[in-house]
Symmetry: C2
Subunit: 468 residues, 2 copies
């Protein structure tokens, strides 16, 4: 039915903007409304197919499905097919297969292609961010606050070791062993301290291990690590920019992070009985889920405003609501929303990953790859030993706890990005950090799977059944 | 904790972009990443609070909750508070309370405020469009294809009467009675033919009447009306632009619409057994829901490409999947996604509604209000009589069927928007169309509620229980 559409369609489309957007068609900037929607729909179709094909393949070879979602993202992303690319990495509308396809199937004006491309990537980016917010909200709901507080000291020990060991070994090794100047060496060392709570938590959930002792220690340590990472980034960034460390910034971050986490949990416990009472009095559809999301989004907003991460707010909201009688019901309702939004996050992480830096045939990559090999070793060993700082408790799988902290994920990429923007990193050091992030992120899920081999069948069943 | 943040925060934020966005921070255009996410989260919080406060209040005074969502949208929208405003209507960042609030709570650079405002409204607009796509997918799932085909002839009679009667009466009345020139009279008449399938379907679902004979006739007629509306808009628009009617365009639209609806249903029936088999073989979470959405979004995309509406594609996808053994399970999973996204649509419709045109104290509004009074009468009577074209069937509530077609909603606003953009409408005629759309949209839900008073308690229960 698309034959001859180009000639027939132009006159109509010009006069027939998408109903929902055109309500007050006055400027011409919104003429692209239906095309932007179409490009987002097409992106979601590509993302879902990539996540499901990748996830199913991984699950069949006994690997965590989230690894498949990441790899699926790589396949449709900048490294391979170029279906889903993002302008921050320098891509334009011409690099995007989605936009090219839309240009061929609709009468999209090539002059408008760039605007549509930017709107499409903006919407997909925000959807992926809401995806990881929902994921952390879900993880918070499934976590047990009491259990988490109980393992708090152990989690803190793991987090602090997992920050200090790779930082010292990484910075020292690069500076003394590879002759990297001090500032980039410190930066690379700082990048080694990150942990991607999203990837680890998702793998644990898939293995049905989130509520094991090990799982709770990993989650607790990852949350502490996330806060430490924000502080370290602020320190390192201020060091690069001003040459010294601004103590007020650091103090502000430490105090606001502590106050936020303690405050939300204490205040949250006071507020939730009223929230639950309100939900019980409500009569319209979706009363529990929408109220829960309002709470989660509001805390995510506050966390962003005080310079923390939105996901910490969502996690705290989930933790607090997980203490109420509504936990089970809310968990069940969040599942579908998570199923729809979380894959967008993981596929986007994969799609943004540029595997070009891994190609040893490119001479300029080689120096970076050698540095990367060193960083990867430090990254795995530095986190791997962190579990052993837990004293006693021979019953715990301490190696698994350390390996759970290995994936640097998107958090590690921030360091590379900030370092690159500040001009402090040489191309080879930046490439080395990116390669380290890629390898740790993609290796950790199968490693974790190996280290938790004896997962009881019933638990794994639950984690699939949740989605059905 | 926000004290002194402006001075402390600037250095940090500059160097600490949001992790998820900053992966490859090279340009500076993405510096606003965390602020854009924060503004979207805040918008969603405002939207959810407006939808729930409005919905709960309406449900307590025995009105359909969706009316409360619309009114809640009006309250936070351009007409009252200005929390949620959109650039298409001429609003800037300064008019948006969300952006103002963000400027006060973060270190958002006033120069970037406009970019953040545009990104925020773009994302919310697309979310609201995905919301109505999910709504129509859900309505399609809940509808019974056989029943719908069975009532097809009756629905067609209702749709065609509901298009011809208001068009002839409206155009004739304006031309002969009010001395409005021919072209704007035809345009206003055309605007009277629209039906907002979203609002009607939502009210029917809330009343537990979607699967009644009347409900299925209304849905069937609304779908046919939607297609007729697209054709009428193309005809009128081409008339204004070129002075004559381009037969090829019209033929193209009629054929593609018919081919699309028949094609998706026939092909869909062939494809769905394979889809169901694939879903049964899948092992990862969310396999059914994600597969269903891929199908819905793909059809929505195709519908957009052939110049139809995305919602028609989603409705067809729901209808076809509703025929499979997975119907019940999929319906249950879509509920949570709908609860999260559908309110965004209705609140946005309300928020975009500018009640300024209703103020009789403004002299320039008076002429429009007089025209509007006439258009409203024609709008209600013209659709109201449509139900009576069903021959025999004294058991049917024929008035309710007609009244079900009354809300013009966002579809009616398209006509006003296109007319305004083409310069064919005088300000008073445009205002009259907008007032007619507002009044029919807001009156139809309570009217429908009155006409379906004897809704069995169990059915209404179900429609709330779905969401719990």
């Amino acid at each position: 039915m698309i034959v001859d559409q180009a000639s027939v369609g132009i006159a109509i489309t010009k006069l027939m903007p998408f109903p929902l957007l055109a309500a007050a068609e006055e400027g011409s900037s919104q003429d692209n409304g239906p095309i932007i929607l179409a490009s987002v729909l097409l992106s979601l179709v590509a993302i879902y197919i990539a996540s499901k094909v990748g996830g199913e393949l991984c699950s069949r070879i006994n690997l965590p499905p989230v690894l498949g979602e990441l790899v699926g993202g790589v396949v449709i992303g900048v490294s391979v097919l170029g279906v889903l690319v993002f302008p921050e990495a320098g891509a334009t509308a011409e690099d995007s297969l989605i936009i090219t396809f839309i240009e061929q199937t609709t009468d999209l004006d090539p002059n408008s292609a760039e605007a549509v491309f930017e709107a499409q990537t903006e919407v997909i980016t925000v959807l992926s961010e809401i995806g990881v917010i929902i994921l952390l909200f879900e993880i918070g709901l499934e976590s047990d606050l009491k259990e988490l507080l109980q393992v708090g000291p152990q989690a803190a020990a793991v987090a602090i070791t997992g920050v200090i060991a790779p930082f010292v070994a990484g910075t020292g090794g690069l500076y003394y062993g590879f002759g990297v100047p001090a500032v980039p060496a410190i930066f690379a060392g700082a990048a080694l301290t990150a942990t991607s709570i999203g990837i680890t938590a998702k793998v644990l959930a898939e293995l049905g291990r989130l509520n094991s002792k090990e799982g709770q220690i990993i989650i607790g340590a990852a949350v502490i690590d996330d806060v430490l990472g924000i502080i370290i980034l602020a320190v390192v960034a201020s060091l690069i920019k001003t040459g010294n460390i601004e103590i007020t910034n650091i103090l502000y971050l430490v105090i606001s992070a502590a106050a936020f986490l303690v405050g939300t949990i204490l205040l949250g416990r006071l507020i939730t009985p009223y929230l639950v009472g309100m939900v019980n009095a409500m009569r319209t559809r979706g009363e529990l889920l929408v109220t829960g999301l309002v709470f989660a989004f509001a805390l995510a907003y506050i966390a962003t405003v005080i310079e923390l991460e939105a996901i910490l707010g969502a996690f705290a909201a989930g933790l607090v609501l997980g203490e109420t009688e509504k936990r089970k019901e809310l968990e069940e309702q969040v599942v579908s929303v998570a199923d729809v939004l979380v894959p967008v996050f993981f596929v986007c992480v994969g799609a943004r990953t540029d595997l070009g830096v891994l190609n040893p045939a490119v001479p300029s990559n080689r120096e970076g790859l050698i540095l990367a090999a060193f960083l990867i070793l430090v990254a795995i060993i530095g986190k791997g030993i962190a579990g052993y700082t837990i004293i006693g408790r021979g019953d715990l799988n301490k190696l698994a706890i350390g390996i759970g902290m290995v994936p640097r994920g998107e958090v590690g990429l921030v360091f590379a990005g900030v370092g690159s923007a500040s001009g402090a990193l040489s191309p080879s050091t930046e490439a080395a950090i990116i390669v380290m992030v890629i390898i740790t992120t993609f290796l950790a899920p199968p490693f974790l799977r190996l280290l938790f081999p004896e997962a009881p069948e019933t638990e794994t069943e639950t984690s699939k059944q949740e989605g059905t």
